[in-house]
């Protein structure tokens, strides 16, 4: 199938108007119109414009009661609100001092992380005693969360290729009191790990970060359609490799902090074309709006199964934009 037309965006009058009003590149405005339709696109862009507060994940490895942590932070003047999707995730509506500089942060009582990012680990649902691979893992938001759900038992293989980011990953593993991790400095495309040996795999793929526009508005005009095309090819390679880590019957999450269908449903569709053993399982979370995956974009039809994937947006779920898709290796 020729997928070229996916990256060929015709810009409409509406998109130009929208791009002027909200200060983003016209091709992005056009894509958002395609994603949401004319009514919803404004809601989305307004939510992006308003931004969302930062959030923290309470570290249940060391904090006996997240309620106590919240009270402690509130006493220090923080304004805190529980997430509907992640019960131990909290929005911080007001920070009297930077969240990164408190004693509680240094003690590893919380990790500063988007709710969307946390939701991907909730979807993976790692269990105590399992063997889990976290590929593309630095700086460790997912690795330390996976360890939390496994209660520091079993084993996590955490791999990243970037030395500077690895140092941050290790620092976070230590700060969060995580004990069940092996960190490898490796390119997952070449890593020589026994294939078929992991119960679960997390691939939080490198991406254009389009979902993070709620925090970083400059992403409205720093990414080109060519970036999307290149990233999408790379993500497919990573996904095909990551899937091989799974045991038959094992599950993986493919996630990105991007809302671009080119980096998500399109990548899954192509992976399904290449891997008979891959199936998409329904990714739905309590407390979320559970917006399904997109099945058609810019005239290109994706595999029907991708509607089982999950999309999170600032205007529907008050999260950064995130894509989460559970995949299973057939027995």
């Amino acid at each position: 199938m020729n997928y070229d037309r996916l990256f060929n965006i015709r810009i409409s009058e509406e998109a130009i108007k929208l791009s002027r009003r909200f200060g983003l590149l016209p091709y992005m405005a056009e894509r958002y119109i395609m994603m949401f339709g004319l009514d919803e696109v404004e809601e989305f862009l307004r939510a992006v414009h308003n931004g969302i507060p930062r959030s923290i994940r309470c570290n249940k490895l060391v904090v006996k009661s997240c309620g106590d942590l919240v009270s402690r932070l509130e006493k220090e003047g923080f304004k805190i609100r529980q997430s509907k999707i992640v019960p131990y995730g909290y929005y911080v509506d007001y920070e009297p001092v930077s969240l990164g500089s408190t004693v509680e942060h240094l003690l590893g009582y919380y990790f500063i992380q988007g709710i969307g990012s946390m939701a991907s680990v909730v979807a993976l649902s790692p269990q105590p005693g399992e063997l889990v691979a976290d590929l593309a893992s630095a700086p460790g938001g997912k690795t330390t969360h996976i360890a939390q759900l496994m209660n520091n038992t079993g084993g996590i293989l955490s791999i990243d290729v970037d030395a500077r980011r690895l140092a941050k990953l290790v620092s976070n593993i230590e700060r969060m009191h995580v004990r069940n991790v092996i960190v490898l400095m490796a390119d997952i495309l070449n890593v020589k790990v026994n294939e078929g040996s992991f119960d679960r795999v997390m691939l939080d793929a490198p991406c254009t970060g389009e979902g993070l526009i709620v925090y970083k508005k400059e992403r409205f005009f720093t990414r080109t359609i060519d970036d999307l095309r290149k990233m999408s090819e790379y993500q497919l390679k990573l996904l095909l490799k990551a899937f091989k880590f799974l045991k038959p019957g094992g599950t993986m999450v493919y996630a990105t902090c991007s809302i671009a269908p080119e980096e998500n449903e399109f990548v899954i569709t192509r992976a399904l074309d290449e891997m008979d053993e891959m199936e998409v399982i329904e990714t739905r979370l309590d407390g979320a709006k559970n917006v399904p995956g997109i099945t058609e974009f810019n005239g290109v039809r994706f595999k029907d199964e991708v509607k089982n994937c999950l999309r999170l947006y600032p205007h529907t779920d008050s999260t950064e934009g995130f894509f989460i898709c559970l995949l299973k290796r057939k027995e």
């Binding site: 990164g100 084993g155 700060r175 092996i182």
Partner: protein, 171 residues
């Protein structure tokens, strides 16, 4: 062995275990959670890790297949080329949490003193205790939370490593 290879090799090592044990002894402490002691050469230092048996085994298998291990289990400390053992923050946290360190080797800092310490600054002690010069101590706050390792110099505590370092050295 070529230097490059030695630098990144993970081994089950007696030298690291000895250094860890003798450090623990020097502060009247013991650690229950160190099934296997592993060492990893990194630059001038040798890092010492504690790991559960199965995790240690997996790490060794990965290394045998040619992978570079960067971290495993819990960092217990590091041994410099003069043979001095520097305990990790994780080790201190573990000892305080499990209450397996003698109270004589623990200093409690209050309010601003605790703040100064986690900024990496020397703290003047107001208490009248007679501390042994040069002794390593675990420093905690009034809530009993581990803040770092210090060394006694007269009536002062010099920070060796404190939890503030998690954010001070970020890139």
């Amino acid at each position: 062995m070529p230097v490059e290879e030695k630098r990144v090799r993970l081994t089950v090592c007696k030298e690291g275990k000895r250094a860890l044990d003798s450090f623990l002894k020097s502060i009247d402490a013991y650690n229950k959670n160190c099934a296997v002691v592993l060492c990893l050469f990194s630059g001038e230092k040798m890092k010492v890790y504690c790991a559960q048996q199965s995790l240690a085994q997996l790490a060794m298998t990965l290394q045998d297949s040619g992978e570079i291990i960067y971290h495993v289990g819990m960092l217990a400390g590091s041994l410099n080329n003069r043979g001095v053992f520097l305990p990790s923050l994780e080790l201190g946290w573990e000892l305080i949490k499990a209450n397996t360190i003698s109270g004589r080797n623990v200093v409690v800092l209050e309010g601003d003193e605790a703040k100064e310490f986690i900024f990496g600054r020397t703290v003047e002690l107001v208490s009248e205790m007679n501390w042994e010069e040069g002794k390593a101590v675990a420093v905690i706050n009034e809530q009993g939370e581990f803040l770092g390792w210090g060394k006694i110099r007269g009536k002062r505590i010099i920070p060796v490593v404190d939890i503030g370092s998690y954010v001070r050295y970020k890139d």
